[in-house]
Symmetry: C2
Subunit: 265 residues, 2 copies
């Protein structure tokens, strides 16, 4: 039976709101996800929140009822609250009907099984949470084995990244590693490391891809360091016919991922 919280001053409301900040997520090991679509995606992937906040007025929605029932059955707590408090928690004027507090989870590099997919995405020093979430969404769409975040990437559990992933954070394995750790792991088995670069003449449509392909996307502003580019088995470029010299990082990753998908299927 859900308890009700209607006061801003409630300690759980305060504590939950703090999870919008990275420092508090780290301390608590928990993060926020918002909206019926994303929480349902999570539920279907077997991920249930520790705390589920829902608007009283949406309590009869079948997907909300399913979330409440399964959250409680799994030992979590469902909390009926007001749109105002949901808005405070989400930071949006029009919050979704539900907000969940989930334990953070990452997949250790050693637990990734490269035989499960012909495509893996690797991002290096990604700075923008929207790009990270969008890349996760693309990873889900091409059935990538996972997303590997190298060195200092933005937090995949930030509100913006979770939102942009549209739930893919819950369905795509995410690992975090230094370049050295990743490179050592990669060379322990089969895998072609393909880097997106501006400093090559090899067109991405003409290149040969060998599964499993690990697609490496560099930092939004600087691309990847020379040492990483040198360690790639293949550098390819996407043609740029206009005035600009690069695509958005999430867009470039997707154009490449769909090319590799079409060629390895």
């Amino acid at each position: 039976m859900p308890r009700q919280i209607t006061a801003y001053s409630n300690p759980l409301v305060k504590e939950t709101r703090l999870l919008r900040e990275k420092r508090h997520r780290r301390e608590a090991g928990r993060f926020l996800a918002e909206g019926l679509r994303i929480l349902t995606e999570a539920r279907e992937a077997g991920r249930l929140p520790h705390h589920l906040f829902f608007a009283g007025e949406s309590a009869s929605h079948p997907l909300v009822r399913a979330l409440v029932a399964e959250t409680e059955a799994a030992g979590g707590e469902a909390i009926e609250t007001t749109p105002d408090i949901l808005s405070k928690l989400s930071g949006k004027d029009n919050p979704g009907a539900v907000i969940g507090v989930y334990p953070e989870f990452l997949t250790p590099l050693a637990a990734l099984d490269r035989s499960t997919s012909p495509i893996w995405l690797v991002a290096e020093r990604l700075r923008d949470p929207g790009n990270l979430g969008t890349i996760l969404r693309t990873a889900d769409a091409v059935a990538a084995g996972g997303l590997i975040l190298l060195d200092e990437c933005v937090d995949p559990f930030s509100v913006e990244a979770v939102r942009a992933s549209m739930g893919a954070l819950f369905t795509v394995p995410v690992a975090r590693a230094s370049w050295d750790e990743f490179h050592a792991w990669l060379r322990e088995g089969p895998g072609q490391l393909v880097g997106l670069s501006l400093d090559t003449d090899a067109d991405y449509r003409s290149a040969s891809y060998a599964a499993p392909t690990f697609l490496l996307t560099g930092n939004e502003a600087q691309g990847m360091p020379n040492a990483m580019a040198a360690a790639c088995d293949l550098l390819v470029k996407i043609p740029m016919l206009g005035k600009a010299d690069s695509l958005n990082a999430a867009v470039a990753t997707a154009v490449m991922a769909y090319e590799v998908l079409a060629r390895t299927r």
Copy 2:
């Protein structure tokens, strides 16, 4: 000779800051662009600001000097100011070295020349300014003839859209039209209208494209209305192998645009 402004209370600073809001942009017919890279892109495309704010400490940078000189030569005003005021104008803690105030410009539909490019992008009720800017950046990269915004799209002159476009707003013609106006114009000449859809079995890699191809992307959440889908010459889908049922709108547009580019080159 640039004048100096160092007071927050300066009327021009206040007025410029208001351009972050759509209502004030509409009234003034002007918008903001930020950063040396974007303003230089604009300058190279022949677009100079009415007002150019620059940090005194960056006055010796060759690109800043070029902007100042050309802005003044074109009758605009260059204003030396402080990092604090630049920060206030940009809304960012770390503003770029320059901010420009430009007159809004759109290209009338009737002025678009469809013979200039085999690819045109068309977006319907696009809601997210980051997506709009990212689509403009892709439009530049594939040398699209332009971007046509249908019905109620987000403002292409919003700070977020201009930023995400990385300057492509200044290099890619943008037109705004209702669906009826666009459809009537389209049918006056050659042009294949290709809609991205989930309700088709036609894979985007197997379809036949005929230049000029007009790629239509629907609203982020709802896709395009049935009437628009019915008016398309071709509906294609991008395969979705995971749990999610759609890609980010800017990503989907780019995957399609690069496919059409590769096939029509």
